[in-house]
Every structure is written in C-alpha cells, then in structure tokens.
Amino acid sequence: MLLHPESLWLLLLLLPVGAVLLRNYRIGRKEFKRVKGRGPVKRLFDVFTIKWFFTSFFFLLSLLFIILSLTGIKDKREAFEELPSDKDVIFAVDISRSMLSRDIQPSRLERTSVLINSIIGRSNSARYGLVVFKGEGYVYVPVTEDLEAMKKAIDTISPSLFSSGSTNIQAGLETAFKAFPAGEERRKIVILFTDGETHSGSSTAVATTASKEQITVDVVGVGTTQGGEIPLSEDRSLRNQSGEVVISRLNPVPLRKLSEETGGAYCQMDEEGSLSELFACLSLQQEGENIRFIEQERYQLFLLVAIAALFISFLVRIIPWRGTY
C-alpha cells in the first residue's frame, strides 16, 4: 500500500540523471585520450572508469531509495483501543440528484431521512451533526445535543439546498471530519449515506485521515443495483444527450472498500432490509473495546539505504587509489 503513489513519477528523473552521468564519462574518456602517453595514463584511466562506475551507480541507487522513501510504503498494525462511551455522530448525506431516484420507496433521500430520524430517536446519549454534500460539503447542522434542530434540518434536505456539480464523497467526508469539535474525549463516527456514484475524489486519502484522527466511517449504500430513473419533475426523468433515460445504480464496490479502509461497517439500504437490521449493522452500537488498524509509514529503512549509498558514492570519489602510480 502506498500513501503517495504519485511520487513514483519521480523515478523518471533517474533517466536524465543516468544519461548525464554517461555523457560525462564520455567527456572524461575523451580528455584522457587527449592526454598523450601510455603506462601511467592508461592505469589512471582504469582508475577513473572504476571510480566513475561506482560513484555513479551508488548515486543513482541513492536517488532511487530516496524516491522510494517518498512513496510512503505503509503497513498496518493492530491496536486495541478503549472506546469512549460518549459519541459524536455526523451524518454525511449525499444530496446529488441521483439520490432522488425512486428505486427504493419513497426515494433514496427520503429513506435516508427516515433512517437518520430513527437513529436519533433510539440513542440519545450521543451528539449529532449533519453534513450535506455534492461537489463540496457543507456543515448543515454542527455537532449538537439539540435534537430539535437536527430533526428540523433532516426534513429539509434536498438536492436544491445548494448548487454545485458532480458528487465528491471525499469532499463530503473531509467536511465531516473537520466538523468534529476538538478537545473532548468522545468517539467520532461518520455515517455516510450515498448511492456511490462518485464522480470525483479519492477514497484512500480519506481513509488515511480517518485513521489518523481515529474516526470510524460507516457507509450506507442507498439504492438498488438494478437502479432507477432520476426524476426531474413529477413525470419527467433525466435523459442523456442522445435522449435515453439515465439509470442510476447503486455502486457498492467502492463503498465497501471505503468502509473497509476506515474500519467501519458497510450496510446496504434497499427494499428488503428492515430498519432494525440496518441499525444493528452500524458500528454505533458497538461498546467497550475495538481493534483498530494503525497505519505505519515505512520510510526509515529506505532512507538509511539511500544515505549509505550516498556515502559510498561520495567515499569512492574522495578516497585516493593507492599504488597505481
């Protein structure tokens, strides 16, 4: 697993660096040819070749390992943690147009509201917050004990709350992460409601932040894999450019991956599952102890190899070669 896979592009740097080193060897060889004479010069040239080879090789090796250390190779370690009994729960709700689809009745978004309302009603030892997102996220209700405010807000969520393009789960989750008040010992849980038709954003970055901030992300996939039309008005549905009706389908694969990466649960909200089944699925219920995966970046070994290589490349250059002349 790489934390910064984009750093691998830096490996391309090795090519021009290698080319320059090779060119410089040629220049050096030419210079030696210009120096006339045999015997000692020939031997000197051998020394030059050997030194050039090792110093260049180890320099390239050092660059290679520096770049490898930048990629952030990580591994996971298990750690037990005591869960604080007080919870802060933030609902991150996708309010893109596809959430209006009626493949589950009455609609994906309304079903979401019902579930949120029932969660709020069932456990009142927690504080709740509400983040809505499309292309960007917005803190609709900050984390609060005030259930009245939550209930009122839940009834008003709709795609027309704000206009912004596409669906960016990453933006929604990051807004939610920032909405947790600092400086308290409470368990942080985000419950994400989406149909998974993500159009931008990356889930790996989100998972890293979540694990660092000790936030559990439960993902609720809303909708069916058969999908449904996206209604624009009572009798009109969204069509694409060629005039065909657009079908929005639940895409569970990336959602399941996201929940696994953040150590949360994945639950599916479709026609069959009952509310209590869904409720049981969420990690909200869990008390006591939990196993959390702590990600550790492995870079020190790579760096040490890089430094050693740099030392060697350096020493080969400066250590005099005895006995050649």
Binding site: L70, V139, V141, D146, E148, F180, A182, G183, I307
Partner: protein, 333 residues
C-alpha cells in the same frame, strides 16, 4: 515542538564533520586525479571566475544541506502539539441576537450596533473553549441560526452570515427567549445560559417576554440581558434584504430597561446596559468571569510527521548539486 521517532539515528550527524574534512581539507583526498603538468599539453588552467567559484561553493553547501536533511529525516522527525482534552462538561450558551432594523443605528462605531455586536460575540466565542454555543436571531419571529455546538468554526461562519431584517421589522423578545429555551430542552449541561442582546422594546411575537422568562426560570436557564444603544436620536442606514433597497433615516433609540431587568432577575441572570462598543465588550468580559468554572483538563500530545518535507528538500538540493556540478561544470567524476 519537534520530536524524533528514533533520535539514536541523529548520531549519524556526527559523521558529517569528518566527511567535510575528508572532502574539502584532507591533503590526500582523491576526488581529483593528480598528475604532473609535464604531460598536460594544453595551456595553464585559467583562474576560475567569481561566478564559477560561487556556483561551486553553492553546490557544496547544497550537498551538505541535503545530506543533513536526509539524516534528520531518517531519525523520524515530527511536530508535536499539545491538545487540551476537557474532562468536564461546559455550559450551554445560546446567544439571542436582535435582528430588527434599529440595530443598524450608527451610534456604535465603526459600522453599527449589529456589526459591533457580531464582533464582540465572536471574541466571546473565541474565549469560551469548553462551552456549547448556539445562536438565535429574532425580528418579528425568532429562529435558530446555530444549535448549541462546540464547533466554533460553524458558529463564527453563521454569525458572519447573519443579516438585519431577515425576519421583519419587529422585536419579538419573548419569541427569542422561547426559541432559545426550546433548543436547550435536551441539554444535559449543568449551566444553561441565554444571553439576550436587544436595542428595542418588545413589539411582536405570540409569546410575551415575561412568559418566556418564566419558562426559562422553570428550566433553570439563566438569562443575561444586554440593552444596547445610546439614548436619543441616532442615524441608521441598512439594506432591506428582500428588496435590496437602502433605507436611511433617524430613529429614536429606546430599549425597555425595566423589562430587561425583570427578565434577568426572574431567571437569576443580570442586566447590563451597553452604550458604546467598549462597554459592550466589558459586559461580555463580566459574563465571562461570572460563568467561569473550574475546568478539569488532560493534555494529549498529537504528532504530525514531517519527514516527507525533509526528504523532498534533500532530493531538490541533491538534484541542484547535480545540475551545477555535472551539467553546468561537466564534472566527469
């Protein structure tokens, strides 16, 4: 503060002076291959120009910095921050702010009463670090702007977004207090506080202020009342949010001091008059000290690794050295 995961590795830094000596001062160093001038058939080497000497010196500095940065990065540096974890529950505070047009009166510099109040409230929010704070705005009606929360960022954002006259021209003090009480009803905080800021007489709303005060008193909510404004005629200027028209004029400024006093005494609060921005600030300082409790705090250390920055810097410097020496100077070895 910077801490290291494996400080032991910092010992490697001790090699740097040795290497510096070997590379730059040691007589027998072999970075060059020395040979006699007799076999050198070209002209005597010209003395290097200043710019060349400077570039060479610069490349050396860059190289050593790169090496040091790599060594530091290998020791696993991270920035650690102390985080205060509050162990006891703070207050729940609802700020009830008058949004009626008279709050646009310009007797509070630099802009008007409303903007001054917003500024003072923000400072107040900044000073309370363990309390849940919410905002209710009122005009003809009252509405919750932010539920009580410790997410101060959101509180400040919403405070910024508040505008005058969004709920008509009236002053429904009773409604303001009542709405605040509704949103405090689930609160488990020991101390529930409402801070009412108004500059007018109650003239709207279905709930009279004293009934609202009675509800508050029954719920154990303390109401601090603040009457803002100077007495007499003051100029006002504001934009009507529905039409966008600018309204200018003069108003006779008058708040109902008796009513505000009575509300505060009924609920164990206190009444404060504020005739200037400075006195409004001192009112909040007073409330601050009245409502301070002993806090139990635990300090946690949060660390943020910063090795990546060091490695990136080292890589840049190494490449810089490489460019200067191998590409510009065409150093063959």
């Amino acid at each position: 503060m910077i801490t290291f995961d494996s400080p032991v590795l910092l010992i490697l830094l001790a090699f740097v002076p040795t290497l510096l000596y070997l590379n730059h001062l040691w007589n027998k160093r072999g970075a060059h291959i020395s040979f006699s001038f007799t076999i050198w058939q070209k002209e005597v080497l010209p003395k290097a120009r200043f710019i060349e000497r400077f570039a060479l010196f610069f490349s050396n500095v860059a190289f050593w910095c790169a090496l040091i940065a790599l060594l530091i990065a290998a020791a696993g540096p991270s920035i650690s921050e102390k985080e205060r974890i509050h162990l006891n529950r703070g207050h729940d505070i609802l700020l009830v702010l008058d949004e009626s047009p008279s709050m646009a009166a310009q007797d509070f510099s630099p802009v008007n009463r409303f903007e001054t109040a917003k500024g003072v409230l923000k400072d107040f929010v900044g000073r309370r670090n363990n309390d849940s704070i919410g905002i209710v705005g009122f005009g003809n009606q009252a509405a919750l702007r932010v539920p009580p929360t410790r997410d101060y960022q959101t509180v400040n954002d919403r405070l910024d977004g508040m505008k005058l006259m969004e709920m008509g021209q009236g002053t429904a003090i009773g409604m303001g207090i009542a709405v605040a009480c509704v949103h405090l009803q689930h609160s488990q905080a020991q101390n529930k506080i409402v801070i009412l800021i108004t500059d007018g007489e109650n003239n709207a709303g279905e709930i009279p202020p004293l009934s609202a005060a009675k509800i508050a008193a029954e719920m154990g909510v303390r109401v601090y009342t603040i009457g803002v404004g100077t007495r007499g005629e003051v100029p006002i200027e504001l934009e009507d949010p529905t039409t966008g028209n600018i309204i200018r004029g003069k108003i006779e400024s008058q708040y109902d001091e008796e009513l505000l006093k009575e509300i505060s005494t009924m609920t164990n609060g206190k009444f404060f008059p504020a005739t200037s921005p400075g006195s409004l600030e001192s009112v909040f300082n007073d409330i601050d000290s009245l409502e301070s409790v002993q806090q139990r705090v635990r300090v946690d250390i949060k660390t943020e690794p910063i090795h990546r920055e060091f490695i990136l810097a080292a890589l840049m410097l190494l490449l810089l050295t490489f460019v200067i020496r191998k590409i510009i100077f065409r150093e063959v070895l």
